[in-house]
Symmetry: C2
Subunit: 649 residues, 2 copies
């Protein structure tokens, strides 16, 4: 080595009058908490934190801990006290509008889910009631939704055919609903891009499946991909089919779309598109009833069981041999349902300027689905189309959900007999009319502009759902999203750093082309939070390659050994943790560089990393004079040592 | 807001005489490379790099690019020129010693893999020859190994039973070998800890399975877990069994272990333990032949097909309905085989002071297994026990592997007739004697001391293999390892920072308890390389919780609003990338803080992050005067603005 790098009381420019080098601070930090202490700390901050950090609106009142705990679980206890009569007027109107849209949609979605119509209505009763006590959104309209209904029917069908044994099928659906509630805390796994792609794909698939109802076809494929559905439609059209179904369905579809057009033109007429589905149902049912059209091939809903929700506790299938698969379907439904609901709720909360509490939402939706599974409901969540109607109708609080649930409950008693003659084609039209809202082209464009990889996720989800299956579409999207996260960990960037002139800042020389390199020094930064088995060899090889490149350049320029590369400064400030492979890789790097007469200097290693080195006795090999607090300090020491040795020459 | 934070020409302490604030540099960085440019760059550095960075030993010669490319693929062309006669003397001795150990081991391992004995010998011919031309290790002894043999038989057995149709079984094994070669580049997925645990578990399983041979049992379980094997041994012992097998097997096991004891006592007698297995085979075979012991129940090897390796190209089953499963077994074998071989090769390379080239090793092993699959070999890799013998025997280069391969080839012609009478119990003894080397207690202890989570991975692999199956053990280990990486990404740390007195350094206040907080400021750092869908909500909530905690503390201490929290400085230097969810989360954070009269200031955002904000127009909302180059700059500006406003008061 040409130059001796000693830790000779290196005053950092800013270290002031103290004689002690600042890297002493680094070496003498306290022992980091052990794994158990950390785990305990994690539980303390994440599980018990809610109590501590909850904001008391009325600061000195309610010192009762039980009551304040109840208030945190049931936000209705907080805002219920300030509820006013003129709020209720608005909520009542919104709730009634909501119910008029909800009743036909619920029947249609139950049909899509492979269940009898009454189960859709049940799902619009219990879950909204539970949500209204626990949720934090003011606009979210709870109930069955199209995408989750499709998801359920396409996945549960693999376990049990709904046609051959509808009772067994229903039991499995309830069990899935239970799991969807119990596993609801595992969200955050679907990116916004994946959701946009998935919803668009699902909307198209659902739309194609409605052709069955619209054409009144009897034979239809169980698969959900576009190719199977389209070919099934073509096959069926060769058989005799009933044009009357199509006439009724498309006539009312046009009516609903017209109503929506009017609603869009004049925002005050929002109730026209909201009421249109119910009006269509009533009109179509009357027409069929009066003309006896059911005898001329028009398919009708037939019997709907009247009465309230029934208990379904004893129908849950926890001893089923397919329990694993059932839990998986529950998990997938929960992820889709919650991600959608929170996205919808959040976007309306932003408009009104309040904040949705993600954790409380998760808990509310979990409980409402568990309660639903015990009372003959299937998976409920926040519906996009109904939430928009609720918002336009001027709802103030979730009381509109309560109004809606009670209205549906009453209609379950009163209306079911009337719905006997409702043509199924009208249900198809109602579902079809709700689908365009699920295809969010502007979001897709925004994602394309912002992040190409996110767009790839979107496209994968979209085409996966369209051409393979719901499951594969989701798997693709989640797989690509997580592969990206993994990739940033297993193939991290190694940045070359340079000093920004006249400052003590060292920046990536790609980001700051004006940054200066110090001759004789190579300053590199590992930009990964972990130095572990999955990237340790890669990082070591990349650093050695960088050194080799510099040496080759020096060879070409015929730099003398004395002026050549002498020190590699490794900025480890980003590396939060290291495992055994990481320690070994650093040891090898140190050895390899030493065998080439290059000294390895480590700058700003983190707490845990440093203490692990101490345990592995790596700090003895590296020697503590090769560990510095900052890159700046390490560079300064080197430059000073070099100039001293040049002076001596 | 009490204080106006303007970007009024903030001179950083060290910014020197220039009037321009340094954060201008940040805003005016060049556009980062697009995804395509990055991809091209990645390919350039990672695929084509080898050519550029290869070091020419003879600098001015060999300007021929084809020859230099060949040299990089076949290192033998480089070192072969300097090969000397006295190297060969040593390699010849080492090679012969190796062969004497390799022949009995190969027969035993083939038996373990469910194949006829000659296939073990074949595997000791072609792969070592290929490896010797392409590998970079000088000591690694190539051939069949115990753990991979167990792996193959336990996993291929699920597709095809070796007893009912050995030819079909063999075909699948060759196809697996092909995939093990073709998929060999996908290593780096098994941590050292997982390997240690897996090998120890596998050694115990293999040892228990040898009880079958040692006791001469006929009925034996196909499962590999301890419970099945032990109960199978007990069941079998109730049936009549042949004690002569046990006598021969355990007598020679004692002989081999004694020989090893002598070899350990005196390092010069290393050849005694190396020769002991071959001597045992010869002696045992002679004893059986002379005493006709095979008529008294001693199980013997019987027919071994004489002759060299035969082509097996037409036996590869690429049209098998189980192709996916076959590829999976190939991948698992490759991961285990390569991780073991590279670990073994690296440890001996470190002793001799040279460096193994991981990429070349991967390529060499890939090619040797593909070539092996075409010439009746099964998966070969570097054997731990034989590499140690090779090293002790003083090998200089991989020529010892060539000598070994030729010796095995000759014995395939000459010896096979003689091996007819070899008792199978002796093979069990030879396998058993090699197992203790696979159980690495000192590594396990080292891992326990260093990293508890790595030790958990080790334990999971160990007990998984022992009590469930080889596959589950591996899955557990890989799963836990990757869950840890994922967890650091989806639940990153949010560190509170403080200034180290009299410096410009901001450190984690847990690591540096002496760091000072600036009143009125909260400085936080996101320690995750990605701000994305999987952690964006978590990070936003954690930051808001920290703000709330500070506010509650202030409330308790009755701090006036003017002296309370006014600015949150978010250090984003660690965040290398951001996706659409990340942009939205930051936007929400900005809004939420603004609604509480707190200003969000971002310090040192990275290149890509900044440019993505520009595209999302987030920088307009945040306003560029709230973006600073460093935390220090942001704090200084705040402190100066505050003191100015106090002066005005």
């Amino acid at each position: 080595m040409g130059i001796e790098l000693q830790n000779h009381q290196s005053h950092h420019e800013e270290a002031g009058p103290t004689e002690e080098p600042i890297s002493r601070w680094l070496i003498n930090t306290p022992e980091p908490p052990s794994m158990w202490q950390e785990l305990a700390g994690y539980i303390r901050t994440n599980v018990l934190a809610k109590k501590k950090h909850r904001r008391n609106n009325t600061k000195n009142s309610s010192s009762n801990p039980v009551y304040s705990c109840l208030k945190s679980v049931f936000p209705i206890l907080s805002w219920g006290r300030q509820y006013k009569l003129n709020f209720f007027k608005k909520d009542l109107m919104a709730g009634l509008t909501l119910a008029s849209l909800c009743i036909p949609q619920s029947i249609g979605y139950a049909n899509l889910a492979g269940l009898d119509p009454e189960y859709g209505l049940y799902t619009s009763v219990v879950p909204p009631l539970i949500y209204s006590t626990m949720g934090t959104s003011r606009e979210l309209a709870i109930g069955p939704v199209a995408v989750v209904s499709l998801l359920l029917s396409s996945m549960v069908r693999d376990i049990q055919d709904p046609v051959t044994d509808p009772i067994a099928y229903r039991k499995i659906v309830f069990t899935v609903t239970f799991f969807a509630g119990a596993l609801g805390f595992l969200v955050d796994f679907l990116s916004h891009a994946a959701l946009v792609g998935f919803m668009a794909g699902a909307a198209i698939v659902i739309g194609l499946q409605q052709l069955k109802g619209l054409f009144g076809l009897s034979h239809f494929t169980n698969k959900t991909d576009v190719v199977s559905v389209v070919s099934s439609v073509f096959h069926s059209l060769h058989h005799p089919w009933q044009p009357l179904n199509f006439v009724i369905g498309s006539a009312f579809l046009i009516f609903i779309l017209l109503a929506r057009f009017i609603g869009k033109r004049n925002k005050k007429l929002f109730w026209i598109p909201a009421m249109a589905p119910l009006i269509s149902v009533v009109l179509a049912t009357l027409i069929v009833y009066l003309t006896n059209a059911e005898t001329r091939g028009v398919k009708i809903v037939k019997h709907i069981k009247p009465g309230f929700n029934q208990l379904s506790v004893n129908q849950l299938q926890f001893k089923s041999p397919h329990l694993g698969q059932i839990a998986k379907i529950g998990l997938i439904s929960a992820i889709i349902a919650l991600t959608e609901a929170i996205a919808v709720g959040r976007s309306f909360a932003t408009i009104k300027g309040y904040r949705l509490d993600g954790n409380k939402e998760m808990m509310a939706m979990g409980f409402m689905n568990i309660a639903g599974s015990l009372s003959s409901c299937y998976v409920a969540t926040g519906s996009f189309s109904r939430t928009a109607v609720n918002f336009s109708a001027g709802c103030e609080t979730v009381v509109s959900n309560i109004v809606m649930a009670i209205t549906v409950m009453i209609s379950l008693e009163v209306l079911t007999r009337f719905l006997y003659f409702t043509p199924t084609a009208i249900l198809a039209s109602i579902i079809l009319s709700a689908l365009p809202g699920l295809i969010d082209v502007s979001s897709a464009l925004h994602i394309w502009k912002l992040d190409k990889l996110d767009f790839l996720v979107l496209i994968a989800a979209f085409f996966g759902v369209l051409f393979a299956s719901v499951e594969i579409g989701l798997l693709l999207a989640v797989g690509i999203s997580f592969a990206r996260i993994m990739l940033s960990s297993i193939r991290p960037n190694i940045e070359a750093l340079g000093r920004l002139s006249k400052t003590d800042i060292f920046g990536d020389i790609n980001q700051y082309p004006m940054a200066n390199k110090t001759p004789g020094l190579l300053t590199l930064r590992i930009s990964s939070p972990l130095l572990c088995f999955a990237n340790a060899n890669f990082i070591r090889d990349r650093i050695l390659n960088s050194v080799r490149e510099v040496e080759e350049e020096e060879n070409e320029q015929e730099v003398t050994k004395e002026n050549g590369l002498q020190v590699v400064i490794l900025d480890m400030s980003y590396v939060m943790g290291v495992d055994t492979s990481g320690v070994v890789a650093l040891e090898e790097l140190h050895q390899e560089l030493a065998s080439n007469d290059i000294r390895l200097v480590v700058a700003s290693p983190r707490w845990r990393v440093l203490h692990k080195w101490k345990r592995a006795k790596l700090d003895e090999k590296l020697k503590s004079e090769n560990i510095y607090m900052t890159v700046g300090e390490a560079v300064d020491v080197y430059v000073r040592a070099r100039s001293t040795s040049h002076d001596l020459c």
